[in-house]
């Protein structure tokens, strides 16, 4: 079936550096999301994105975070600068529509370790 791909699967960086997480969403999907999961906790919504714009973001989506999808390529989450508390698994998701009965499909996650 259709899949959301995330690259890389694991990223280790030093605190203060910039990191970009990449997501290749399902080809005909129009809505894109990032979620954050700290080990042992539930997944928490960060942001959703449609037509080149952030539609909604949570308190977890700090000023150091940004998202974009230039020219229909990867949907990216950039963190600049990173902090220790950014260590988590970040899941990308995509959905065809915005209606609440179209559950997003998730990727396998990128584990970010900030040292």
């Amino acid at each position: 079936g259709p899949k959301v791909l995330q690259i890389p699967s694991h990223q280790i960086i030093d605190m203060g550096q910039m990191v970009t997480l990449n997501c290749d969403p399902v080809s005909n999907h129009l809505y894109f999301y990032w979620y954050k999961q700290i080990l042992g906790q539930q997944m928490e919504f960060l942001v959703n994105f449609y037509n080149g714009k952030v539609m909604e973001k949570s308190k977890l989506f700090k000023d150091q975070f940004s998202v974009e999808r230039p020219d229909g390529s990867y949907f990216t989450l950039k963190i600049q600068p990173t902090a220790l508390e950014d260590s988590a698994v970040y899941f990308c998701a995509s959905s065809l529509g915005r209606r609440s009965n179209q559950a997003p499909l998730f990727g396998e996650g990128t584990r970010l370790s900030v040292l």
Binding site: Q42, F45, F91, F106, E108
Partner: protein
């Protein structure tokens, strides 16, 4: 404040038994409830979902029972197999319109052979 609560935190059943996973929510605006299955090291995979206009949804050996008045739902896994051992997340969305999912903390299911 936890808007979606799951119980139990972990559950062990024998192969062939029915596993029952519970979920409750607080926000009356929630109208769509997907369940996701997650294996270690993988992303969550959509298992089955229900809309608040229904009280039951079946798909293969998975059934959701939904009680709108009580704001709770349950996932029944019939004839559990060891391969069903995973973490199950209840999620909810609705209201705001941009398909923002609120997840519970998950139930870790172990099916013993």
């Amino acid at each position: 404040q936890q808007q979606v609560r799951q119980s139990p935190q972990s559950l062990t059943v024998w192969e062939g038994e029915t596993a029952i996973l519970n979920c409750s929510y607080e926000n009356s605006a929630f109208d769509y409830f997907p369940w996701y299955q997650q294996f270690p090291g993988e992303g969550p995979a959509l298992l089955i979902a229900i809309r608040s206009v229904s009280d039951k949804k079946e798909d293969g050996g998975f059934t959701i029972f939904f009680n709108k008045r009580e704001k709770n739902l349950s996932l029944h896994i019939k004839d559990s197999q060891p391969g069903d051992s995973a973490t199950y997340f209840c999620a909810a969305s609705g209201g705001s319109g941009y398909n923002k999912l609120t997840f519970g903390k998950g139930t870790v299911l172990l099916v013993s052979p």
